[in-house]
Amino acid sequence: MASGKEIRTQISSIKSTQKITSAMEMVAASKMRKAQDRMAATRPYSEKIYGVIQHLAHARPEYKHPYLQDRIEATRVGYIVISSDRGLCGGLNNNLFKALLSDIKDKRNKGIEIDVCTIGQKASNFFSRLPVNLVAQKAQLGDAPKLQDLIGTVKVMLDAYTEGRIDSLYLVYNEFVNTMTQEQKVLRLIPVKPETPDELLKYPWDYIYEPDAKDVLDDLLVRYIESLVYQAVVENFACEQASRMIAMKNASDNAGNIIDDLQLVYNKARQAAITQEISEIVAGAAAV
C-alpha cells in the first residue's frame, strides 16, 4: 500500500487538475452563450439572401447561372471542412471527420476524386496527413470569426467549380442542435437547389436587373455561399464550446470521484499506521 504522503500529493495534483477543468468548463459556457447570440445575429442575412435566391431560381431569368445547374456526371467533388482550432472538446472533430471519411469512401468507390479545403487547425492537421488533395486552408479564426477571413478559402473552391475542376461542392460542419447534441452535417453548396414554394409557381414574375442579370446573379450567389459557410463556421464554434463544456464537466466529475476514492485509501492507510504504532508500543510495554 502506498504511503500517506504519496497519496496526499496525488490528491492535491488531481485537485489542481480539477480546478483547471472546471475553469475551462465555465469559460466554455460563457463563450457558448456568446456564440449562440452570434448565430442568431447571422441568421437574418442568410434567410433574406436565401429568399432572393429562391425567387431567382424560379423567376426564369434569361440567364441560367452555372451554380444553379446540375452537372450530369461528377468526376471530382470538393469539400469545405470546418473544424475547431483547439482540442479538448470531446469527440466533436473526430466524429465529424469520421462522417466525412465514410462519405469520401463512397465517392471514391464510384471513381470520384476528392478536393478538400479546410477551415480550422484540427481539420488542417488531420487532412494534411491523409492522401487527399488539400487545396486551401484557413485557421486561427478566433472567437469572433469574420466573414472577411473566409472569402479567400471560399473563392478557391468557387473558382475550381467555375473552371470545371470540381463538379459539386459540399460543406461539412457540426450543426448546433442544443448544448448536449451536435449533429454532423454534409451539405451540398453547389449546385444550389432551392426549394419551391407553391405561391412562387402560381404567379411567375421576374426582377428588373441593374445593370444585368448575369452580373447581379454572380455577386449574389457568391455572397450566398459565403454566408452559408460563415454561418456554418459560427455554428461550429458554438458546437465546439458546448462540446468542450460537456467534456470538461465530465472531467471535473471524474476528478471528484477519483479524489473521493483516494481519500478513502488515505484514511485507511493512516488508520493502519496508527494501529501499528499502538500495537508496537503495547508490545514494547509488555516486554518491559
Binding site: 447571422t42 442568410s46 488539400l134 486552408q137 469574420k146 479567400g152 441593374e210 445593370p211 455577386d219 455572397r223
Partner: protein, 140 residues
Amino acid sequence: MAMTIHVDIVSAEQSIYSGTAEVVIASAEQGEIGVYPRHAPLLTRLKAGEVRLLKGGQEEQFYVSGGMLEIQPDVVTVLADTALRAADVDEAAAIQAKEAAEQALKDQTSKMDYAEAAAQLAEAVAQLRSIQRMRKGKKG
C-alpha cells in the same frame, strides 16, 4: 399617415436595421435610387455609400461598403457587405488560402517526426516501467 415600405438592412454578421420608411434612398451601381412603396421588383448592386431612410420628415442614415439591394413592392432588403470587396482583394485572399494549404502539407514531415518521436518515447517509458517492476519483484 403616408404609405410606408418595410426595410431590412442586414449584413452577414448582424442585422443592422429592421423597420418601416416612406422612402428609401440608396446609391446603386448605376446611380442613386429612390424607392417608394409599390416599387416594381428590382435587384441591383450597391456602391459604397449611404442608405437613407425618410420617415415622418426625419432621416436616418446607414453607411454600407457595398452589397445588394432587393426591392419588392412592400419590402426593401439591403444585403450589406461587411468588407470592401474588389476582385484583386478577393484574389489575394484566395492565394493566401492556397499557400496556407501548401505550407500545411510541407509541415507534414515535421509532424510525422513528432509522431515518431512520441511513439519512441512511449516505447521507452514502457520499457522503463517493466524494468522497475522487475526490480520491485526482486526486492519483494
